[in-house]
Assembly symmetry: none
DNA sequence: CCGTAACCGAGACGGTACGTCTGGTCTTTGA
DNA sequence: TCAAAGACCAGACGTACCGTCTCGGTTACGG
């Protein structure tokens, strides 16, 4: 009997919502995620704090949505991985692009903050994966399926695991900053993953 | 020459330091990392807050050290990866153990929190990598070098990148919680990485 | 025009204000002024510290207001000095009452602390004088003016200075604790001040 | 074996004591009494904090002693009130000098702070009165006694109370800052106190 | 077309923790 | 053997945000 009141989203102010997106993105760009506060976003957006608390559960949720909104405007950017017939070349192309993105501060800043928050907050992590990560993983999945059908992959592979062989190491270097992310690294990754590390062919 | 006032570490109280370690670990275990506060650690350890601020730059730094101290006591746990001659089997053994660790809340809790903090704080991230991550990566490096010398690996491999083919995907699933971490997953990873995804052998 | 952010006093919580008054007075009575802290007042009043910092500049200011509020409730206590026609007797009556007040711990405690703070903090001192001291001085001023009109005082006297001849020595003994404050002292003061110390009458 | 050890004052370091005096006076002059700390005095004097705590009970006690030490060096300044035979003139001379002192920031600063502390701390107040106030009051006492013997004062006066008729009002204005302290004020005070306020002579 | 029920901007509120500062005590080290 | 140096426990300081709560005002239905 305490609240149970879901706000009426049909009466929601688009004006406020977009002002909040802009303020959130601007603040994260200016002072970083950690020093961005809900209070600061509200003030910058010229919005009452309650308007934020009414519609979002956390600062991270605000930023994730703001980020998705931004990405949505630059829509159609989810181009497909090209299929030139040369799987290795195609994958290298895309991994190199990913490396560039990870090295680009404009992308790295907010994404890294969201990822970190998601590491620790499962609900947000699920959102992060679903909304940001999965879409790009689907690209790999489709390209690999095409390769499989073309007979370029060993039969019976679990394609989900296969694609993690590419993006796993990349993400590892990105998040943990163990070593620099370069185009060479991306290329080597593709070669190693496609052709294996071992001398011997698989027994099966 | 970095700071104006460096405290004299020779006069540091071991008593306090260990009380702080214990309090920090206990609190993280009881209420979680996010709700653990420096104030709380100080109170629990029966220590002035300044004693913490004097020696550590952040809550995360305290916990990292506490965690390392704990690991150090259970020393010699850094056993070597066995070398039975069967590289795949040896790797699977260790990857499975790692999977178990990642699924163990007692390990997952603090480590995940530290990793998340390290994602966002480069200085801490470097510490995390150097003190916690690298040592275990060295195990893989040594086992792979042995395999290379035994002729089990394709010559000329960059072993650092090779080992990331195993731990990258594992870390990916662990941190981002995309899909469950199982022994089967570990096994498959080893097979895929050792023998490659592609039908064709490498051209070179 | 004084501050950058003046809080909106129309939205101020009377509930909180009075809880703060009560807590402040209670704490000063219980542990003394010096050991009363803003933190303690806030905790005792069930109020956030910011609510105190928002409305008062210092602990002393809180207590002064609390004290005035208390005095205001016991309103109308500012009775007039009686005018029986016998100036000396009337003054003695009031000075004796003042002596009693100064010897009363319940009054002495907070008032002394405020006075001491005012000695050192001019802004607070001005408040102290204006709100606490002046009103009672006005009583003397009126009684003396009546006496002047009745021809009981030498013509042309500066009445402000005249009244300080009574309250100055009293305050001196009170604040500096040089010698005990007694009714006899008050009586003597009145006699000396009214009739002078010298054998000779004034030349003028 | 805990404390109960009165320090052996014969082994006290004069060097340290004077360094502390100088540091205390310098700090009070530079940043004011309130912002002077024992820690600061120790650091400035190149002395351990314990050396201060060993010999003095409080910051105020240090400053009082430092101040007395300073005054002691400029010794012999305790000149007598002149006795020209004209009591009023002599008193005015001295009261005017006192007024000037009270208006002199170099004197006002530390003395006011000590007085304020003494208002609130009886032990210190007693010291303040005994060491700083009483000596100058003795001057008045002697001059008044001379006047009494010369027949210039009404017989049977309590000279202690008589002198408070002069210094009480002065101190009142000084500490409470009710109104400006001027030479005129001092003169008027002397006239009023010597010749009384009332028209009628005393009945006795 | 006029009430009334929401959302809205604003910001005061009770809280919690921050990181700093100082008070007084205790310990180590060099002269 | 003492004093310098300063680490230690303790806890208040004043600030920053949190998330909740009024408060008017301003839409935008729904009777």
């Amino acid at each position: 009997m305490t609240d149970t009141k879901a706000p009426d989203s049909s009466r929601r102010s688009d004006r406020s919502r977009h002002a909040i997106y802009e303020a959130a993105l601007a603040l994260v760009a200016e002072v970083g995620y950690a020093r961005t506060t809900i209070e600061g976003i509200a003030a910058r957006a010229g919005v009452g704090k309650q308007t934020i608390y009414r519609w979002w559960p956390s600062k991270a949720a605000v930023l994730l949505e703001a980020y998705l909104d931004l990405a949505g405007q630059a829509a159609g950017d989810e181009t497909e991985i090209p299929d030139t017939g040369d799987l290795a070349a195609d994958l290298k192309l895309v991994l190199r692009a990913t490396v560039d993105e990870m090295n680009n501060p404009a992308y790295d800043g907010p994404t890294r903050a969201l990822a970190a928050e998601g590491v620790v907050d499962p609900a947000l992590g699920a959102q992060f994966v679903e909304k940001l990560l999965d879409p790009s993983l689907q690209l790999y999945a489709r390209r690999l399926r095409a390769a499989e059908e073309a007979g370029g992959l060993r039969p019976g592979l679990d394609l989900r695991i296969a694609l993690e062989l590419f993006v796993g190491p990349l993400t590892h270097r990105w998040l943990l900053r163990t070593l620099p992310l370069t185009h060479d690294y991306a290329d080597t990754l593709v070669d190693y993953a496609l052709h294996g590390l071992a001398t011997e062919p698989p027994r099966s």
